[in-house]
């Protein structure tokens, strides 16, 4: 962390301070007073959020950021992040809260520009953890070339939330004439998946304390900006883009089948899942098609542009593993049907609730 330089300054400042809100970024804890709106709040902001994020709009401390946009067509989205544990192999809630919102903007063909972030902190949260998460957000913003222009912090009583929740909203500029949409898939289209599925969900699950599994793979959490920018070159041959999040590949495809009123045919053998994810799913009785990703997407394109789409995706960061997994069909409208590894067929339905491990 580049904040080490600041540390000695901070420490000396704290020693002089009579109310000592954060005490020490490495050993202190969040107290209810940090959400009071008073001096403790000021100090939390000036000791952690401002130096780490270092954003001009935040430093101005106005009620709202005033932004200038070069087009009147914008995409706007919001998402809440409540992941547990906060830090997991391959990422943390901070990077996730940037990637997730940036990806939602990208999937509508927008160039992500600005984010806001609202932090709900639980009394007793370690300052060290908050510092780490905010630093990770900053890195993700730099990586995605977006600015965090508005932020808010609240502190709730112990037990009022699970350590730290983050809500981010995002604005992006839509520069393309053709806006991809979940309702534009057409019979005959090719369905392309950007890479292997299920890593994020299983990495999180394995990191939870009640499961004794050691995994070497990491979450797939990553921005999809590059992928969507490349795909937009297909213009009106690009019909749909969707990032795969909770509910996994199966849920996204079901949403598209309903929104476009078409059928989807998948080949199980064509869907990449790394062997370790397969193994953990098998042990826990889960289906990888329903496991969350945070850096994977589906593109639905005219079949005559399939080859070009694959090349564009494979040339993009996060798209090296792009592969065709199925087709849009006239039959079985609003349903996703999978041709299994051994050649039988079955429906891939929406989950009826949370995916629960099977008894045997």
């Amino acid at each position: 962390m580049k904040n080490n330089d600041h540390m000695s300054d901070n420490e000396s400042k704290f020693e002089m301070s009579s109310f000592c809100p954060v005490q020490d970024r490495q050993t202190g804890f969040i107290k209810l007073g940090h959400g009071s709106g008073g001096r403790m709040t000021d100090q939390l902001i000036s000791e952690i959020f401002q130096p780490v994020l270092n954003e001009q709009h935040l430093n101005e401390k106005e009620d709202a950021a005033v932004l200038h946009l070069s087009s009147d067509k914008i995409a706007f989205t919001t998402d809440s992040y409540v992941v547990s544990p906060l830090i997991f192999p391959g990422g943390d809630i901070g990077s996730l809260s940037v990637h997730g919102t940036v990806n939602d903007l990208s999937m509508r063909g927008a160039r992500p520009l600005y984010l806001s972030a609202a932090f709900t902190l639980e009394e007793g949260l370690e300052c060290k953890l908050l510092d780490r998460v905010v630093s990770s957000m900053k890195r993700a913003c730099l990586e995605c070339n977006v600015h965090l222009v508005a932020a808010d912090t609240k502190v709730v009583n112990r037990g009022g939330c699970d350590k730290l929740f983050i809500t981010t909203s995002g604005v992006g500029l839509v520069e393309s004439k053709h806006v991809p949409s979940a309702n534009k898939a057409k019979a005959g289209d090719s369905i392309i998946l950007s890479g292997d599925v299920g890593r994020h969900g299983m990495a999180i699950m394995a990191a939870r304390e009640n499961i004794d599994l050691e995994c070497t793979f990491e979450s797939d959490s990553a921005p999809l900006i590059d992928l969507s920018r490349n795909l937009l070159r297909l213009e009106d041959a690009l019909h749909t883009m969707r990032d795969i999040t909770r509910g996994g590949l199966a849920s996204v495809l079901n949403e598209i089948a309903v929104a476009s009123n078409i059928g989807i045919e998948l080949k199980e053998g064509a869907i990449p899942v790394i062997s370790e994810v397969k193994a953990v799913c098998e042990i826990l009785g889960l289906d990888p098609l329903y496991v969350a990703c945070e850096g994977r997407m589906i593109a639905i394109v005219s079949s005559e542009k399939e080859k070009e789409a694959l090349e564009l995706m494979r040339a993009a960061s996060q798209g090296e593993g792009a592969t065709v997994i199925g087709r849009v069909v006239e039959d079985h409208k609003r349903k996703v049907v999978l041709r299994s590894l051994i050649g039988g067929r079955r429906i891939v339905d929406k989950l009826s609730g949370e995916q629960l491990p099977r008894i045997c």
Binding site: N210, L284, H332, L341, R346, I347, L356, P357, R358, C360
Partner: protein, 365 residues
């Protein structure tokens, strides 16, 4: 890492399916006993590979489905108590009792935890001495040894706050019940591979000889099941009946002796109430005299009202293989996995839920 891929090969599956086609001259009805086998059949669409002559019937071997409504109600009542930490395998949380499920009481504030092994509950009991830790011990002979071991260790460790709410069921009595019934249509069984890994298959030799029926102890991968079907069809076509072991890589004739020993030490045989089938004599396991103090029913004295549910549900006939899920007027209408009316819609291993989840494209053919 090679991962079960050799048991999921399309070309080998096609070869076995072809052998079944060549062998079958008549129509045969074969029941897979286990919910896990039903799940594989549906998940891989195995029926699409079989000739029409071969009809698969889906047996009573889904432990989640057949657990009695009265027991679920007891579990919910115990879980709702403020002095209890209630532990369960994940898929029991959504199983509806007469008015609620465990997820409902969890949402209302009860401490309900999903565990992957009953031994995890011992740790929870050690860490929470002021609470009573109750594990919902359900399932066939596959889950019974681990549950027995948990109770045995609790005794050894003198843990006084760990209890089992126990409703174990055993396979041989229920398949004998099916075979004895007047309306039986089952001509061969695919035997329960994992149950036999614990119990061996000597009990099934007696069943096969008594009722003159082929039983093939079968695994859970798609090729296992196709191979099991093939072996059953060969016996049927040759008018033979015996126990064959398709699942040799896991199952031995005498089973797992240490597992059987700990079950005998802790459990005794009892009559059991099966959801959808009613009480079957000598078809359950409960804690025996020396371990009875760990029985949650004795500690909490929960009284539940017997519930009469009037519904068009035909799950009893489905469990016996007499009817298919889509023969039911309620299937996919009043009865869905979110609102199951009967046992077989409850878990994804139940026939109705599996049809609902995996095979609804057939409605539109």
């Amino acid at each position: 890492m090679r991962f079960a891929a050799e048991f999921r090969s399309e070309s080998r599956a096609a070869a076995i399916a072809d052998a079944i086609k060549r062998c079958a001259t008549k129509s045969w009805r074969i029941m897979e006993v286990c919910g896990g086998q039903t799940h594989t059949i549906m998940q891989y669409g195995l029926q699409d590979l079989l000739p029409e002559k071969i009809e698969l019937l889906h047996g009573p071997g889904c432990p989640v489905c057949v657990t009695g409504l009265d027991l679920i109600d007891k579990a919910i009542a115990i879980a709702a108590r403020s002095d209890v930490i209630f532990c369960s395998y994940g898929d029991m949380l959504r199983v509806p009792g007469s008015s609620q499920d465990l997820n409902d009481v969890k949402a209302a504030g009860a401490d309900v935890r999903v565990v992957y092994s009953p031994l995890d509950c011992l740790r929870i009991a050690r860490e929470n001495r002021e609470k009573k830790v109750v594990f919902l011990a359900i399932g066939f002979e596959t889950t019974a040894p681990a549950n027995a071991m948990a109770v045995k260790q609790a005794k050894q460790q003198q843990l006084e706050n760990f209890f089992l709410l126990c409703s174990h069921v055993t396979v041989p009595p229920v398949i004998e019940g099916l075979l004895r019934s007047q309306d039986n249509v089952v001509q061969a069984f695919l035997g329960p591979g994992h149950v036999c890994s614990v119990m061996g298959f000597r009990q099934y030799e007696r069943v096969s000889q008594t009722y003159k029926i082929p039983i093939v102890i079968t695994g859970f991968e798609p090729l296992d099941i196709l191979d099991g079907i093939y072996k059953a069809v060969v016996q049927l076509e040759e008018s033979r009946y015996c126990v064959e072991n398709q699942y040799k890589r896991v199952v031995e004739r005498n089973g797992n002796a240490p597992a059987q020993k700990v079950m005998e030490e802790v459990f005794e045989v009892c009559d059991q109430n099966w959801r959808g089938l009613g009480v079957i004599a000598q078809s359950g396991l409960r804690l025996n005299e020396s371990y009875r103090r760990y029985d949650a029913e004795n500690v909490f004295h929960v009284k539940t009202q017997p519930v009469e549910i009037v519904s068009p549900c035909i799950s009893a006939e489905v469990l016996k293989g007499l009817k298919k899920p889509h023969d039911c007027p309620a299937f996919g209408k009043e009865c869905t996995p979110e609102h199951p009316l009967g046992a077989t819609m409850v878990s994804s291993e139940g026939a109705c839920a599996a049809y609902f989840r995996y095979r609804r494209f057939e409605d539109e053919k």
